[in-house]
């Protein structure tokens, strides 16, 4: 370990001790092809317990890469990254992930798909089933408990994926453009529901999107990222009180913030 890395380590341990910090990154970087392609360059950030943080930026800014590193699905090439104070080494059970595609198992009913995370740990009990059904209720799929994925619309499939994510019991939720493949109306409705549900389960949330309005509307903080090489440009605080009505997006204050973020993205 070289001198800089050691320095970073000390810095990090100080930061990690900060009150309520759940995810902490110091100069987190990722290169591909032996350093030829820089996907993410030295990102440093702290995310507090219960925060909803959006990662916004154009394609190639490294936002999905960063999310996958937090999830422990890919290894970082530099820097330190901790979750609950422990360096990330691989997938953790207290970190749940949701993708743009619902990625359900076609041969399983909604209920069985939601029970999948539990099956990794133990044989699901009646209590687990009850919980899964309650989650399906929560995401509005009361009448589709025993339906198969291909019988559901895209939006409904994402709802099942969301219920499955919640069934992991993870207190950190990583969402990679979860409703990106859906139409505008469905996406907006699901975003509203997501806000409600996340507040209800009191999870810390990282939400990747390339839609600035969506990023601001949902989040307490917005990590604005710029491409080539991927870089964390700025962390923007979102001051609006919760619960937030959909109409918030029409106010001048909201649009001023959208313009600010667009400026940051534009100047890079």
């Amino acid at each position: 370990m070289n001198k800089i890395a050691r320095e970073v380590e000390t810095q990090m341990s100080k930061a990690g001790e900060g009150a309520g910090t759940v995810i902490s990154g110091r100069l987190v970087g990722k290169t591909f092809a032996n350093g030829a392609v820089v996907a993410l360059e030295g990102a440093s950030f702290d995310i507090a317990q219960g925060d909803f943080v959006s990662l916004v930026g154009p394609s190639g800014c490294g936002k999905s890469t960063l999310l996958r590193m937090v999830a422990g699905l890919i290894e970082r090439t530099s820097g330190t990254l901790t979750v609950h104070g422990e360096p990330v080494k691989g997938p953790r059970r207290d970190v749940g992930l949701m993708f743009q595609k619902a990625t359900l198992l076609d041969w399983r009913t909604s209920l069985e798909n939601v029970l999948l995370p539990t099956e990794m740990v133990r044989k699901p009990t009646q209590a687990d089933e009850d919980e899964a059904i309650a989650l399906l209720n929560m995401v509005g799929l009361k009448d589709f408990v025993f339906s198969f994925p291909s019988q559901l619309s895209g939006g409904m499939q994402q709802r099942v994926a969301l219920a499955r994510l919640l069934k992991t019991g993870a207190d950190i939720l990583l969402l990679d453009e979860p409703f990106g493949a859906l139409d505008e109306f469905t996406r907006e409705r699901l975003n509203l529901e997501l806000m409600r549900i996340v507040a209800e389960v009191k999870a810390t949330t990282l939400f990747v999107t390339h839609n600035i309005g969506e990023a601001i509307f949902l989040a307490d903080k917005v990590m604005v990222m710029t491409p080539r090489p991927g870089r964390l440009a700025r962390m923007v605080e979102v001051p609006f009180a919760r619960p937030r009505p959909a109409e918030l997006q029409l106010t001048p204050e909201f649009n001023a913030l959208v313009a600010e973020v667009r400026d940051i993205l534009g100047t890079h």
């Binding site: 997938p91 992930l97 041969w107 099956e119 291909s150």
Partner: protein, 288 residues
């Protein structure tokens, strides 16, 4: 709705008229064939008369009743060879598919073996295993092995990347990955391989019995042909047509059942079943 109600009788009438047309054409051809045979225009060596074939059916199935034994022998071999060959194919396919190193080393051999016509090896198998059912079963195993093997292999290799990542993010072990994702995901492809294998099994048993013509439906066809009893040979062949058709339909049914999520009726059936099981366990009311 009113429209559908108006359409329904028309559609039904059309369907029956079509069936009637088919039957008329078929009977017409048969009559022509019979007429040609009676008039001596058709060589009975190539085209035994339909009525003669019908008489042969009666003889081999009823009055003489000799076909039953041979059918029993052949179909037992088919069942044994198919089961052994396809289990071996699926098992080996899964092992090879799951292990990158094994796959790399075996791949060239698989390609070479796949390019070799399987039937060509049949005489060698008989030489190695001797006359008797064991070498016949080996031949059937050989023709039944490859389709399930190749399909299982490709099914296991081509597992959806996103689903792999999902399972990894859930902390799945290698065994859980195999049981909960890889194998179920490969089932439709494996079943397609099994369907192919089952069809090959029928050809396989015939080849085996043509080579060792002691018993079985293949041997029977050979005997009848040598005695120039073409009508009886035809009756045997038509029997095989029927069996082939039944096998095809049967495998289709099994496929629909096993890969239930690939068809609407299958999913509907499973939805009802799961809801019923759940309700039964809870002593409550079905949920869906």
């Amino acid at each position: 709705m009113a429209l559908a109600a108006d359409m329904a009788p028309d559609a039904a009438r059309l369907k029956w008229r079509r069936r009637g047309n088919h039957a008329a054409i078929f009977l017409g051809l048969l009559a022509l064939w019979q007429g040609g045979s009676s008039a001596g225009l058709l060589d009975p060596l190539f085209f035994p008369a339909p009525l003669d074939i019908l008489a042969s059916f009666w003889r081999i199935y009823v009055s003489q009743g000799n076909v039953w034994y041979h059918l029993y022998v052949s179909l037992s071999l088919v069942l044994a060879g198919f089961t052994a060959g396809s289990i071996l194919g699926v098992g080996l396919g899964a092992v090879v598919g799951m292990n990158a190193t094994v796959r790399r080393f075996l791949q060239p051999y698989v390609i070479v073996l796949e390019a070799t016509p399987r039937i060509a090896v049949a005489p060698l198998l008989i030489a190695a295993l001797g006359f008797g059912p064991q070498s016949k079963i080996a031949i059937i195993m050989l023709v039944c092995f490859f389709a399930p093997f190749i399909n299982t292999l490709s099914g296991v290799i081509n597992v959806n990347r996103d689903r792999m990542e999902l399972m990894r993010s859930l902390g799945a072990s290698k065994m859980q990955m195999l049981r909960k994702l890889v194998l179920p995901d490969a089932i439709p492809v494996i079943m397609a391989g099994e369907r192919l294998a089952m069809t090959s099994a029928l050809s396989g048993v015939l080849v085996a019995e043509f080579i060792q013509r002691d018993q079985g439906i293949g041997a029977l066809i050979l005997t009848y042909t040598r005695n120039l009893n073409m009508a009886s040979a035809f009756a045997c062949i038509l029997t095989l047509t029927a069996i082939g058709f039944l096998i095809f339909k049967g495998m289709e049914m099994v496929d629909h059942h096993v890969a239930y999520w690939k068809n609407e009726t299958g999913m509907k059936r499973m939805t009802e079943k799961r809801a019923r099981v759940w309700a039964g366990r809870r002593g409550g009311v079905a949920h869906a």
